[in-house]
Amino acid sequence: MYKILFKQTLLPKIHLMRIEAPKVAAKAQAGQFVVIRIDERGERIPLTIADWDNKEGSITIIFMEVGASTARLAALNEGDSIMNFVGPLGLPTEIEKFGTVICVGGGVGIAPVFPIARALREAGNRVIAIIGARSKDLLFWEDMMRTVSDELIVTTDDGTYARKGVVTIPLKELLERGEKIDRVIAIGPAVMMKFCSRTTQPFGVKTMVSLNSIMVDGTGMCGACRVAVGGVTKFACVDGPDFDGHEVDWDLLAARQRMYIEEEKMSFERWLAKHAVTA
């Protein structure tokens, strides 16, 4: 069992938890993920590592309530435990001194971008961060991102906070500004990563994305996480999750992410019906 040491509800549907897992915390690196299972009936869900604390022996995860599993997780509190917590999985993000790097985080994707931006900055890069969300009430960690970036741009799709519009607009402006950009990291929903990659491609700037495919084991055993990169099938859990965004088959990713959409809906409705009082 892995204890929830701390829980914070960042926004109505977005929660942060620090989970006790000292061995994972000792090895975690930016860009890696964990697979968790809440209880005996739970599914194995991958969550990107948002931070870790070696002293406390904890891993920070941030998640949005989008279905039955995340709603179930959100219903747990400090002091409760989850049954399984496996990690750190996947290859860490490539961290080097590239020069100037743009880190783009969309929605809950802001969480995994944070440790990557921090590591890049520590490696001596100039970090420009762009974070965006659909609306003000889905935006978090602006303060945290500010601590790890030299320049921070914030957007909301609906203009309820900061700049109105999607993240690709400031991304394009930055690329056009004439300053040399050596690398872009984009993490968020598949469409957002796809359009970030589209935006950078004409500028020839290498763009790394973190693919959130459906996973089961997370260790290369099942093949659920198959993605196509440069025309070759890869397992996102062991060959990634980071891949070159210009090479990713985005349509395949989008189709595969929708594979269990009906089942997910059914599970969620079942959960909501059971918890009608709290909902």
Partner: protein, 464 residues
């Protein structure tokens, strides 16, 4: 010499119609009378060949003799002496190519049903309250780390613990048991039985650390540095192979590992009570004809598929699955499309599978495996409508451990190089055995390898 009895006692099974709809065990096991009847057929050869056919040399005539004398505790003891997991082996070993193949009565077409008797004795023992508590020797103070808790790891662990060493198994998944838990379905190997055998291994003092992916959480070199005197790798062959044909990433195309993991390990057959879903579809094609293929096909049927095809490029004679399971599958209504091989998978506009285009095949001269080589019949393409396809072509070892261990030797098939009789790898202090060394094989061969490695590790630790 007593008269030979050539009537093999049939094992009761669930009715094929009924069982096609449930996940309960198909084979029901002998009654005491049936077991006695079958045991009495053994002529107690002075030089028992059956034992030579058994990869872990179970003292077959001895346990059968005790059984027919009605001394169940003695039968169980004889069995457990050589085999830590007899309830499992009795169910899943390919007896027809091992002990039963060389039983003298096999020449007369009716070998003693050794597997069924093994199962009977093991099941009897499990039901006894006071589990025969093993007497453990003085601790040696030596520590051994095992990676992987499949049959290779569990056997190696049991033997090392019995020799007095302190044993810890690190397992990547959230349960122990390897393929026995995530691969082989409930209806063929009830999970309760696997659990009982794991409990037995743990009762010997073996510690099992779940959720521990070696190569990620720590490396083999970390383990050696952290005070383990030896490391055994029993990581299996968990990496699924694909056909590498167009359409293989369509929604609805599964690797058997994923399909079976969802169903067995994650209990998708109880969705939505359990959170993990699985697509079953109305028409299912399973590609391959080994045990994995049979398990996937029969699982799909039980989950409600209307038609399940097994597509295999060779003929019936070459099918690698246990005979009994092929028979069971056929009885349950699985349709075999032999001498057939997929060319490509066909999808709709949503990226979902709608069919598989296949070639007809014909058999030519024998290849290096001794089986006749299949080749494509020109212009023979035809399409089978399916909404789910399950690829069961085999697996290779997961490279995670080999990639993160300094100085381990692997073959071009990704298997770890280890000495066959001792399990020693080229890296000092590291042994390996089971599917990770041989490629996908059998439960009993993995157990045999675990046992040989344990013996060598014990020798090494005593000399150290």
């Amino acid at each position: 010499m007593p008269k030979l009895n050539l009537n093999r006692e049939e094992m009761p099974r669930q009715d094929p119609k009924a069982r096609g709809k449930n996940f309960s065990e198909v084979a029901l096991g002998y009654s005491f009378e049936q077991a006695l009847g079958e045991a009495s057929r053994c002529i107690q050869c002075p030089k028992p060949l059956c034992m030579t056919g058994c990869p872990v040399s179970v003292t077959i005539p001895e346990f059968i003799r005790a059984l027919r004398e009605g001394d169940m505790p003695a039968a169980a003891k004889a069995l457990k002496m050589k085999n830590a997991l007899p309830a499992i082996c009795g169910r899943v070993c390919p007896q027809e190519t091992q002990c039963e193949q060389v039983c003298v009565l096999a020449k007369r077409g009716a070998p003693v049903a050794i597997g069924r008797l093994e199962r009977f004795v093991a099941d009897w023992e499990r039901r006894q309250q006071e589990a025969a508590s093993a007497v453990l020797p003085e601790p040696t103070g030596k520590k051994v780390a095992l990676v992987g808790s499949g049959p290779a790891g569990l056997t190696c662990a049991a033997d090392l613990a019995k020799a007095g060493h302190s044993v810890t198994i690190y397992e990547a998944l959230h349960v122990a048991g390897g393929v026995l838990m995530y691969g082989i379905p409930e209806f063929r190997l009830p999970k309760e039985i696997v659990q009982a055998d794991i409990n037995y291994v743990m009762s010997l003092g073996v510690k099992i650390e779940l959720d521990s992916v070696v190569g990620k959480l720590f490396t083999v070199d970390d383990l050696l540095k952290d005070g383990y005197d030896a490391v055994f790798l029993g990581t299996g062959a968990g990496l699924p192979m694909f056909l590498n044909i167009p359409g293989e990433n369509l929604n609805g195309v599964y690797a058997a590992n994923e399909f079976l993991t969802r169903v067995n390990l994650m209990k998708a057959y109880r969705f939505p009570e359990y959170d993990t879903p699985v697509k079953v579809g109305k028409k299912v094609a399973v590609v391959g004809a080994g045990n994995v293929a049979m398990d996937a096909a029969r699982s799909a049927l039980r989950l409600g598929a209307e038609v399940v095809y097994v597509i295999y490029r060779r003929s019936r004679a070459e099918m690698p699955a246990r005979h009994e399971e092929v028979e069971n599958a056929e009885e349950e209504g699985i349709e075999f499309r032999l001498l057939t091989n997929p060319k490509r998978f066909l999808g709709n506009e949503h990226g979902s599978l709608v069919g598989v285009e296949c070639y007809e095949m014909e058999l030519g001269e024998p290849d290096e495996s001794g089986r006749r080589r299949p080749s494509v019949k020109p212009n023979s393409e035809f399409t089978i409508d399916v909404d789910v396809a399950i690829i069961a072509l085999g697996t290779t070892p997961n490279p995670l451990v080999a990639q993160t261990t300094i100085g381990l030797d692997t073959t071009r098939h990704g298997t770890v190089v280890a000495d066959e009789t001792t399990g020693r790898t080229v890296k000092p202090g590291v042994w390996a055995g089971g599917d990770t060394v041989t490629g996908a094989a059998t439960v009993i061969s993995a157990m045999g390898a675990g046992r040989r490695a344990a013996a060598d590790i014990d020798r090494f630790l005593r000399e150290k």
